[in-house]
């Protein structure tokens, strides 16, 4: 047995013991589960936030700062990925690496990387499916307070729709959305992501919640009733736009759409 194999086996055993130690409290339930917060949220969550989906009510109505942290993590990950993709596009293989790649016969020039995909499925489906996917994403995003879904899920579905648009554009098939419409281009997507992130940050602060309550009181004084759930809807929409435009930006740059 080689030394590397022995070291790997030992490391595997240590990791297995550590994972057992982590899972042990779940498997050996001597201590009862903490129930105070759970019961409080189950009893008052729906009434206080006005939502009818308890998951959304908790993670946006009570845990908005946690959600803000999640979006910051996602923002950092996307920024890293986008900068890596940009660097990889700017500097082609050179020196030793390029020589090795050319020897192996699999080095393709930048022009070849951008070759057009021509399959019947792409040509006929991608452009037509995109509006339906975008509509479903908007539904999941807007109705997250009352049905399963929410900002994150709807945002990723919207990103899939934008990816369909990008693929349809590349294939040049029938029914594609023309390149002159730059709403789905990288520049517009990054602007959308930045403004949606700013909206999430603003909405997460307690000041904005009291401002929203003041707005509701003022509106009801005039005679217009603003439901309490519209705060959660606003957060869902900004999270959905942020996640959707961020993931779509990364994928569109990966597909090489930044030249459009």
């Amino acid at each position: 047995m080689r030394r590397a194999d022995i070291a790997g086996t030992l490391a595997g055993i240590v990791v297995a013991i550590l994972s057992c130690a982590v899972v042990a409290p779940v498997l050996l339930p001597d201590v009862p589960w903490p129930e105070a917060a759970r019961d409080l949220l189950a009893a008052r969550g729906l009434g206080e936030t006005g939502a009818s989906n308890l998951v959304s009510a908790i993670y946006l109505g009570y845990r908005a700062f946690d959600t803000l942290g999640e979006t910051i993590v996602l923002l950092a990950a996307l920024a890293g990925a986008v900068s890596l993709i940009g660097a990889a596009r700017d500097t082609p293989l050179h020196g030793e690496e390029a020589g090795v790649a050319a020897d192996r016969g699999d080095y393709r020039g930048p022009a070849d990387k951008r070759r057009r995909l021509h399959t019947e499925i792409m040509d006929s489906i991608a452009g037509k499916l995109a509006p339906i996917v975008l509509l479903f994403g908007a539904y999941v995003m807007l109705y997250g307070h009352s049905s399963p879904g929410g900002g994150f899920q709807g945002g990723v579905v919207i990103a899939s729709g934008v990816i369909f648009i990008a693929i349809g554009r590349r294939s040049g098939g029938i029914g594609r959305i023309g390149p002159r419409l730059t709403v789905f281009g990288p520049r517009a997507l990054s602007r959308m992501e930045a403004s949606a992130f700013a909206a999430i940050v603003l909405l997460s602060f307690p000041v904005s919640i009291s401002a929203f309550e003041g707005l509701r009181a003022g509106a009801s004084a005039v005679g217009v009733s603003v439901p309490a759930v519209s705060y959660i809807v606003a957060l869902n929409v900004s999270i959905g736009l942020k996640v959707g435009s961020g993931v779509a930006l990364m994928c569109v740059m990966m597909l090489g759409g930044e030249s459009e």
Binding site: N53, D106, A159, C251, M254
Partner: protein, 77 residues
């Protein structure tokens, strides 16, 4: 039924780990994601199921396929 789905998901992830063709492994991983989404739905967590289907089977598959297209399809070990 739940045990059956878990067994299928385990088989899919094992194939994804062991497969030498990375594209086949990616497809198996995507199928595993769909099965986990089904499992989440059966366990009455539809929010998580939507997330798993959209992220696991959708976006991450696209990212993996792009990475394979830009590098090498065979596992070089």
């Amino acid at each position: 039924m739940i045990e059956f789905v878990i067994a299928l998901a385990c088989a899919g992830s094992a194939y994804a780990l062991l497969s030498k063709d990375l594209l086949h492994g990616t497809i198996a991983l995507s199928a595993t994601s769909v099965l986990s989404a089904l499992l989440f739905f059966m366990l009455r967590a539809p929010d998580v199921a939507i997330t798993e289907a959209a992220v696991g089977a959708g976006v991450s598959t696209i990212i993996f396929v792009w990475a394979i297209r830009e590098t090498d399809r065979k596992d070089g070990r």
